[in-house]
Symmetry: C2
Subunit: 382 residues, 2 copies
């Protein structure tokens, strides 16, 4: 925050008040979990007021929010969120994966719609406290984790299209199972030309609720045509931007023997995904020889550059398309085997296990870090 | 709604349950009213469930909503709204202005984000019931009215980017004063080239909360530069699209002696405003000679066509720019006297009372209809 607001209190973990539930629930059997349907016993809440700054953080029993019907979140979509996971490794240690990245992005997003920003390190400390209290909700089985959902909403009770004068930052947690319980299942995408996700000068680079409500019609239209997700394109050139709610990656084989891993650049219409950043960083460290990823080709080139559907289509035709995948927190890597585009279906190669030669070793390495079998500074002990 | 959902119950006014407040408030003095800060004694609420359709409508005391922190409105911006006004004429009769238009647009908006639609006529009937109960909240002074805010939110308690399975349609009412209590005050606009409001394939044509959160940063940037509102432009041609949260109108004088009233066409990035439609209809009826608007030139041409900042700038230079104004429910007509554009300020003509030769008679006629001094089928008696 700038100017006079800078003197108002920031989020302060030492002020945390914890009220434990009097009615702890029994976590359901892991096999029964459906994403985002089950929540743990506690939630974190931090109120903000334009004249008072951030109030004392509270961990309290999970329960309903009471808001006036005039609260701005109901009218002008003053809402934004993050998603990250807590993992339990085989020794029982609980870790968060790159929580600083999520808090940094949450602040960037808040700033985009004139909502309050905060000390990200303080929030990571509070996330740890919340996860410590509810860590028995992380199922003790491979592939399971605790999905953490920090959310910020405008709670001002007066209508008027303006920055809200009151807000609430809250965090809820949901135990989740593996995204692909029966092994990888490549998905079919519909290259959407009727709808756009974002445009220059808009909000596509921010994790705002507004991007998600706006995307549902396109997802529904893709499903009606028999595809699992939609592939968001941009401009008359049909630049590839995102896959449903994931970042997009394409792999090409070139005549000089190199394999190129491509993802669109962060030009203002692409969400700066934490998984996207992690995939790029691991691939680049491998390409530079500083941290080899076992099983990955040693002729790897990593590119952040625009890529069009035309290029993908031509590569599919000539046999130089190696793979196409989405990357995001929920699924980590989501391989694609088919793209519906302008009335025809492009077939995308996948291996017998559903993955490809670049995504498979990257996925193994990245999930190894996340689940603690590979030591890495990205893993933050709770 | 289509398919099997068509057999589920729609909104049914005969099922209305009314619970009157036990603690009626005293309406504050009209002069103390600030837009959207005061609400009446009652609200209307209609729940929806994907398996049960619309439930029984309830009019109940104005009060907080209790929602789980996982409700989709907090995460994915499942929110949309309308705004219309109830007026009391000099004889005491209370009317709504074109409520059918608002209910039609609310359904179009709901459909765009896969939220439930409903019988608009049934909702108009329920709006009348609500206004009848709280009509003593309409201040008995010229220029005052009751602002009615129908709102729909996604209330499903499970996360997941998908059409919500539960929703709530609610309506709250706020007594409001004249937008310009001291007479018309033309506003200065900042022609925004850093931000965009909407793009083809997006959600600009719908009254979604998502459009409003996304617009606040641009409004704040305009204010920081000394302008009251921002003027939304589109594309490298800088097509004029909207004025803050209003539709845009420009008036040109042509060498053949005609005066052209122009507004951008409904091409998918413009909100189909009720005031926009009313201004166009009145101006066209005048131009056709079927319903003359007193004081308006008889050489009027009415156009829905694209108009660029280049055209406005050239007209300002050659003296053929007659006026520029915004049109919306809150202010009805909002004249503009200055536009900051690419580093220079364009001066826009305004008359001694702040209005121009086209907007003044149209505003008089339109507000005459709204307040009951001119009989018109657009006025619907409560």
């Amino acid at each position: 925050m700038t100017g006079e607001l800078a003197t108002l209190p920031d989020i302060e973990p030492s002020l945390l008040e914890i009220t434990r539930t009097q009615d702890p629930k029994t976590p359901p059997p892991p096999s029964s979990l459906v994403f985002g349907h089950t929540f743990t016993d506690h939630m974190l809440a931090v109120p903000w007021h334009i004249l008072e700054g951030w109030g004392a953080p509270k961990i309290q029993p999970y329960g309903p929010l009471s808001l006036p019907p005039s609260a701005t979140v109901f009218h002008y979509a003053h809402c934004l969120f993050e998603g990250l996971k807590a993992y339990r490794d085989t020794s029982g240690k609980v870790t968060l994966f790159r929580p600083d990245m999520n808090m940094k992005r949450m602040n960037t997003t808040a700033e985009r719609i004139a909502m309050p920003t905060f000390n990200g390190e303080a929030m990571v400390e509070l996330l740890k406290q919340l996860v410590r209290l509810d860590k028995h909700w992380i199922p003790d089985q491979p592939g399971y984790s605790l999905y953490i959902r920090p959310t910020m909403i405008g709670t001002q009770s007066a209508l008027g299209v303006a920055p809200p004068k009151e807000a609430l930052l809250f965090v809820i947690c949901s135990p989740v199972g593996p995204y692909y319980p029966q092994g990888f299942k490549p998905i079919a995408l519909y290259g959407t030309t009727e709808y756009t996700r974002a445009s220059p000068g808009g909000i596509g680079a921010y994790k705002l609720g507004a991007n998600y409500a706006a995307g549902i019609a396109a997802q529904r239209a893709a499903a009606a045509k028999g595809y699992v997700q939609n592939l968001w394109l941009h401009g008359p050139e049909h630049y590839i931007t995102e896959v449903g709610t994931m970042n997009a990656f394409v792999v090409f084989k070139h005549s000089d023997g190199t394999t190129e891993l491509v993802t669109p650049p962060l030009d203002g219409i692409i969400l700066p995904g934490v998984t996207r950043d992690s995939v790029l960083a691991l691939a680049r460290a491998h390409a530079a020889g500083t941290a080899p990823v076992p099983g990955l080709t040693d002729r790897l080139v990593v590119s952040e550059r625009p890529v069009t559907m035309g290029e993908v289509k031509e590569a599919a035709r000539t046999g130089t398309l190696v793979e196409f995948f989405g990357a995001g927190t929920a699924a980590v890597i989501s391989p694609v085997d088919r793209i519906g585009y302008l009335g025809e279906d492009l077939r995308i190669p996948t291996g017998p296990d559903g993955m490809g030669p670049v995504s498979r070793p990257l996925w193994k390495y990245l999930t190894g870090i996340q689940t603690g079998s590979i030591a890495h500074p990205w893993s933050v002990v709770v």
